[in-house]
Assembly symmetry: C2
Homo-oligomer: 339 residues x 2
């Protein structure tokens, strides 16, 4: 038999379709003996549920979605998403839930996808990344009644479930480390200003500055691209009182910044210390290898998957799970400043 259905199993076991369904789903309604017999027959016929049939009957599709709204060009280099994906999957596969992935150009397109997914019942829930300050996606998802979990940023008042790490603490520990080395002029090359985590990091730097006796601690925003990372670095290093340390909001920008420093004859770490927020192979391939703040992105994904499944099961649940704190991996790009 090609692809057996529960009707085939019911025939063979001499029971009704309903009984088979109960048995296969571990619900009460059949005796242990019957259940065992049915399970054995199903196993032997190598029966697998037809996902569409199950979705139609149970109105749940065992599939969740992830939409990434970034130009493809910038995506590839960042190990962030690859690790996040693997983590998500490790959390989902335990429950045989599959993942739909979509890369789109902008937030409007992303919301359009949610709208389609919701109306076509293609996913049971979604994972949100890159939360912005007044994020329009939150209201859209509320309206669609689509369960969701936010990665890296507390859902806040609106109360979507979330999985987050403490950006503020992480940034503070970077700045404190640099200050302890003796740096007093520290610059921060930040990401897109409308991202929530960018805001949190900028605020952390600003708040820490007086306490640590920093002479100057400017945060300059960029679009996260290598080009703007390089341009901003060039500007910073051309100043009369140039910084002795720069913190970058991404590994790609840090690498670009290192390139600019080399080009301008500024020795790293002799004359300039560099720290990257977010770690990857990239930072390790460099010479000097970059000191970086590493998050356990895989675990991030795994936890996000778990939380999302809980939210799908209990839509009223409000879960804000905090993950392990990022840790600073010190490599060769940081040292005390030259006098």
């Amino acid at each position: 038999m090609a692809r057996p259905t529960i009707a085939d199993i019911a025939d063979k076991a001499g029971v009704s379709k309903g009984a088979v369904s109960f048995a296969l789903n571990g619900r009460p309604g059949v005796s242990d003996a019957t259940r065992a017999r049915i399970l054995q027959i199903a196993e032997q016929m190598s029966w697998r549920p037809h996902s569409a049939a199950r979705a139609l009957g149970a109105s749940r599709v065992d599939s969740v979605g992830l939409v990434i709204a970034r130009p493809a060009r910038t995506l590839g280099v960042e190990p962030f998403f690859a690790h996040l994906l693997s983590g998500l999957q490790s959390g989902l596969s335990a429950h045989s839930i599959s993942l739909q992935l979509l890369i789109v150009e902008n937030t409007e397109a992303e919301i359009e996808v949610y709208r389609r997914w919701a109306s076509e019942h293609r996913v049971d829930g979604v994972i949100l990344v890159d939360l912005t300050v007044r994020d329009p996606r939150i209201d859209a998802l509320k309206e669609l009644e689509l369960p969701a979990v936010v990665i890296g940023g507390r859902g806040g008042k609106g109360a979507l479930a979330s999985v987050w790490a403490d950006d503020r603490d992480a940034m503070l520990s970077i700045v404190e480390y640099l200050a302890a080395l003796g740096h007093r002029r520290i610059a921060h090359v930040a990401g897109t200003p409308n991202f929530q985590h960018t805001q949190r990091r900028i605020r952390a730097v600003r708040d820490a500055a007086p306490r640590l006796g920093l002479v100057d601690a400017p945060s300059l925003t960029t679009d996260f691209s290598d080009a703007e990372g390089a341009a901003t670095t060039r500007k910073l290093l051309s100043q009369a009182d140039r910084p002795t340390a720069i913190v970058y909001d991404s590994d790609v920008m840090a690498v670009a910044g290192l390139g600019v420093a080399m080009e301008m004859g500024v020795a790293v770490p002799g004359e300039l210390s560099i720290v990257a927020f977010d770690d990857s192979i990239l930072t390790q391939l460099m010479h000097p290898a970059l000191t970086a703040m590493s998050r356990d992105t895989f675990d991030f994904g795994r936890q996000a998957a778990e939380v999302l499944l809980e939210v799908i099961a209990t839509p009223t649940a409000v879960i804000n799970r905090r993950t392990a704190d990022p840790v600073l991996t010190v490599r060769e790009s940081t040292a005390p400043p030259a006098h």
Copy 2:
């Protein structure tokens, strides 16, 4: 009304469900006037097909799958997959087909996924990457009768559909370029030996060597990791008669190789020319920027999507589509050899 069904539309239009189905799917059986009226009502009620219901009735799920069997760690850095994904999606979204993505550890797990997808009817077809020499996935897919398209490597006798670029020609043009610069000792740091494209590239180098008067043209295989790329480079550069040019099978290995050269005080491109097979931001971030063979990976994906849809529509079709030839982008890492 929350989520209208075709029954609602049928009511409103005063026709039967069947007529609505015909109208919405552009099939004959209704008059143009009725069709227009139905479409207008559907539009106005903002009706969207329920994917599970459609899948159940039409036994097609409008979804295709991509499984990548590589450790997540190595995945992130390679823009290859991000671009491929975007390309795939641009080819699929035109037909409202969605994409399932899965990252697994090895080929056995990958085949297991195909088995599950087939039995649960989760996808209409799959895309295969990283074809190996005697690839077990081909037979598995044949047995499952799951439509598939192979990316980067002709399906060959077994005759899965495929989309491929000419690796051999590409490699030949690299070697010819280096030879024209005056290089006679060219080394090739290759990828995993069981990949078909690795084999083709090695063969290309070997075949070209005598014709171009190369003194030595060893191909050394690796596991595609930065670590082995670095180790192999170190070995090559420690030889008495070290090569004056090295061709790497991936951008990541080329970058790692560049690092080793700098470390060992070998000037690039003064004493050593470096060429990367596969281009990305990575090669451009380096100093010196790396000369690289660029493929239009996005287009690769787009074409693969098209071919797969054709194969799904006509399972007997045998399509082997050749994409645009890769082009060599010359940057700063190649120059005539020092005397």
